[in-house]
């Protein structure tokens, strides 16, 4: 069974192909039919931007009718086929993933066994050698198409396929009325394929293939409602920002290839671990490049801007891609490369600082958001920051642990929010919600459980993983900045409190109190169908129990630590930076108490201010510190500052070439880069048109002008000709006399 590992990604791929072809076939016939009846052309056009039932289109507040009333839509062709193909393929993949893991054996995996299935020689690059100061070995460079099942990838495929399957099931209900149903499932299957390729790839290049593949699917799914410019823009933005990250990642891969002469995990990491002193000088740059890639994919500080925008996609997509799986790929990659990062303390420091800063930064923004999905999006950014903080302080296992638990509760939260949006017929603004607890009880309960889990309430999943990270940060010591560990711990602790605060704020505003929307809307609130609630329940359950694989301080309780331990290859030699060492039990207990206290304070404040106080206190605070409030709710004005510098500045200078762009998004750096790029592009085009071409044309023009003069020399008067001839003779003689 373990040799059939390649079937795990293959099933979703097959699902993608079948769904895609079915979709195209069904839509082709439809297109021709529409063509045949020319008179229907105009109504078809009007109906073209198929109204969506869900929150992605706030204009459709009355869309409850469309959710209930399928008659309003033309029937979706081949819906059953799409459903079956889409879900079954992922289900099979999940089954085969677990079978493969069991076949290798959990025990053997935790002992460091790795099963590699090599399919074929993919990329033979011939005999190469790096020159310059990178002295990689000369030799045959090649990349194989191979899959690797070790403890890290086992963990990943297990929860990726399982959560993925749940979300596929959820989508059957959620997307049931969408016209592009088949397309949706095709994309989702393609995503599963790419994600599995990412985690199963046995070398950096396959990892990169999956990396790009998930980026593509993210693009396609964010832009799923491509009729809307916002969605299409967001999709493109996500892809381009990710490409900036990939730019770093691929450079890192080039560096690894040049250093080690191979990209195979099974060769690179042991080589690095065995000869740290030989490779270490080069690894800081390589690791930083890799980390740039991770920042793009996992939405870390300068490159996080695409993730909030990505909420323009369907909600299950947000749950699957932008919370549970894809965005954690960066963490996975850093954990996978832990050997390299551990050889470069500087790179680790950067990872830790960026992670800690992002966690805090995004959490503060999350406090003041009013869009249910935006709150969750910033929460995701913040939690991802946590994971990188873990990696940065050397607690790679804790980071991966948080990846897993986060997948459960964040997926649950997103799916829950989807259920809320579904119930409200597309409403996403939490100021227009309230009092939903009794109307959609299943959603409410699961949402509350997941909220408590993310808040770090003891004995729920988030508690264990977050606590492990906080402990590791506290214990971390950086040679260049010994105080940094404590600072990061403090920031993380504060972030934990903030997280608890804004999550409970979200719950209060959404589910508690009175409904603040219209009465007509209120009448139509309904619980979601079973296909949606069952995944919610399963995920809520996992949010509760998911943490018990990593109980600290209990002997044998930290199962996940033991399971993932093999990825932390021991480094030869003494000087290398080691992972955070075990803290004393008493210190750990104290730290735990601190984090519980932080969570409790956050929860309590939120409860008092929002559930009891109806938001009066926050309003007063906002009134008292209007500047601060406005800064936070406007995402620190990064965008506006940028807008005034680049957009306005260039708009006045460059004029029409600065096209409209969503100016309310915090996409400062990216937006700026983009506008600068556009300016440069225009300049280049100008250069091309007027300078390069102009040079050529100018030469031609000069010559033409010159030869118009020569034409005038041809006067038509015979004696002028004779004069020129005489002059010519004189010149001949002169040349002779000068040069003889």
């Amino acid at each position: 069974m373990k040799d059939l590992l390649w079937l795990v990604p293959l099933f979703p791929l097959a699902g993608f192909l079948v769904n895609g072809v079915l979709y195209l076939i069904s839509h082709r016939t439809r297109g021709e039919a529409a063509d045949a009846h020319g008179s229907q052309g105009a109504p078809a056009l009007a109906a073209a931007p198929a109204p969506s039932v869900h929150g992605e289109n706030p204009a459709h507040t009355h869309a409850g009718s469309s959710a209930h009333d399928p008659a309003g839509h033309s029937p979706i062709p081949l819906k059953t086929a799409h459903t079956v193909v889409g879900t079954v393929s992922v289900g099979l993949s999940c089954v085969f993933a677990f079978l493969a893991i069991l076949d290798v054996g959990i025990g053997r995996l935790s002992e460091g066994a790795a099963h590699v299935v090599t399919l074929y020689r993919w990329l033979p690059l011939g005999v190469n050698q790096a020159v310059g100061q990178v002295h990689g070995p000369a030799g045959e460079w090649f990349v194989d198409a191979a899959f690797r099942l070790d403890s890290l990838s086992a963990l990943m495929i297990a929860f990726v396929t399982f959560v993925g399957f749940l979300i596929h099931v959820y989508s059957v209900g959620y997307m049931g009325h969408e016209e592009g149903y088949g397309r949706y499932f095709a994309y989702l299957n393609l995503f599963m394929f790419s994600m599995l390729l990412l985690v199963l790839g046995a070398n950096f290049l396959l990892l990169f293939v999956g990396w790009e593949g998930v980026g593509l699917c993210s693009y396609l799914l964010i832009g799923y409602f491509y009729d809307r410019d916002a969605a299409a823009d967001a999709g493109k933005k996500a892809f381009v920002v990710n490409r900036i990250g990939d730019f770093g990642f691929i450079l890192g891969i080039f560096g690894i290839f040049s250093l080690f002469g191979s990209l195979d995990f099974g060769k690179v990491f042991p080589a690095a671990a065995a000869h740290p002193s030989a490779y270490a000088p080069y690894l800081t740059l390589v690791c930083l490049c890799l980390f740039v890639g991770a920042c793009g994919k996992s939405a870390q500080f300068p490159l996080y801007v695409w993730l909030p925008d990505a909420m323009a996609g369907p909600t299950p997509v947000s749950a699957l891609i932008h919370a549970a799986t894809m965005v954690t790929a960066g963490v996975y990659m850093v954990a996978r490369c832990n050997v390299l990062f551990r050889l470069s303390p500087d790179a680790l420091l950067v990872v830790a600082v960026v992670g800690g800063f992002t966690a805090l930064f995004a959490a503060t923004i999350g406090v003041a958001q009013n869009d249910i999905k935006k709150v969750l999006a910033y929460s995701t950014v913040s939690q991802l920051g946590y994971m990188f903080l873990a990696c940065g302080v050397g607690a790679f296992v804790a980071g991966m642990f948080h990846v897993m638990t986060h997948a459960f509760f964040k997926a649950c939260l997103f799916l829950g929010s989807g259920s809320v949006i579904h119930a409200l017929g597309g409403e996403q603004d939490i100021r227009k919600m309230g009092g939903l607890a009794s109307k959609i009880p299943v959603t409410y309960r699961t949402f509350l459980v997941a909220t408590l889990a993310i808040a770090g309430v003891p004995l729920l999943a988030g508690f264990f993983s977050k606590d492990a990270i906080l402990a590791a940060a506290f214990e971390a010591h950086f040679a260049s900045a010994p105080w940094l560990g404590r600072v990061l711990w403090a920031a993380a602790l504060f972030t934990a409190g903030l997280t608890a605060f804004y999550m409970l704020r979200l719950v209060s505003l959404t589910f508690w109190g009175k409904f603040r929307g219209g009465t007509e809307q209120e009448a139509q609130i309904h619980e979601s169908p079973r296909s949606m609630t069952v995944p919610l329940i399963v995920l809520a359950f996992l949010s509760v129990v998911g943490g018990y694989v990593g109980i600290p301080m209990v002997r044998g309780g930290d199962r996940i630590g033991e399971f993932l331990h093999p990825i932390l290859l021991p480094l030869a030699g003494a000087g290398a930076h080691t992972a955070a060492h075990e803290a004393a039990a008493s210190t750990e207990a104290l730290l735990m108490a601190a984090s519980v206290a932080a969570a409790a304070i956050g929860l309590a404040l939120a409860y008092v201010w929002y559930a009891k106080g109806e938001g009066a206190v926050p309003a007063r605070i906002a009134a008292r510190f209007p500047g601060v409030y406005r800064a936070v709710s406007n995402k620190y004005y990064v965008d506006e500052a940028y807008d005034s510098v680049f957009v306005q500045g260039l708009a006045k200078g460059g004029g029409r070439f600065l096209w409209d762009f969503d100016a309310t998004v915090v996409d400062g750096a990216v937006n700026g880069t983009r506008h600068v790029t556009v300016g440069l592009s225009w300049l280049s085009s100008f250069f091309d048109q007027y300078v390069v071409d102009g040079l050529v044309n100018g030469v031609a023009n000069t010559l033409q002008a010159g030869f118009r003069g020569f034409r005038r020399a041809q006067t038509g008067r015979v004696q002028n000709y004779a004069l020129v001839m005489g002059g010519g003779l004189f010149c001949l003689v002169a040349v002779y006399l000068l040069f003889r």
């Binding site: 006067t715 038509g716 008067r717 015979v718 004696q719 004779a722 004069l723 005489g726």
Partner: protein, 101 residues
């Protein structure tokens, strides 16, 4: 003062130069024609002077050929004079400039 070959050469050169500039500056076609004849005859003086100095008859023979050819040229030139005058009622070569550029 004895007459040397150089005197002949200077004479012929002057004649040639007169003819040369005559072609360049005179407007009347007939005068231009005569200037050309002058150039040819300057060459003839050269040939005969050289022939005498070299005691070689070839030069004199050549000058006979030149005279013959000059006659042919004059015939054609005069024919062209008639043709030109018929069309333009003038012999000013300056005015024959319909084609240029």
């Amino acid at each position: 003062m004895t007459i040397t070959i150089n005197h002949f050469l200077i004479l012929s050169f002057l004649l040639f130069a007169i003819g040369f500039f005559g072609v360049l500056v005179r407007r009347n076609f007939l005068t231009v024609l005569m200037s050309i004849e002058l150039m040819l005859n300057a060459v003839n003086i050269n040939f005969i002077a050289f022939s005498r100095r070299l005691s070689d008859l070839t030069g004199q023979v050549f000058s006979v050929f030149v005279i013959t050819i000059a006659a042919g040229e004059a015939a054609i030139g005069l024919a062209l004079t008639i043709s030109l005058f018929r069309q333009r009622k003038t012999l000013n070569v300056e005015e024959a400039n319909t084609m240029k550029g």
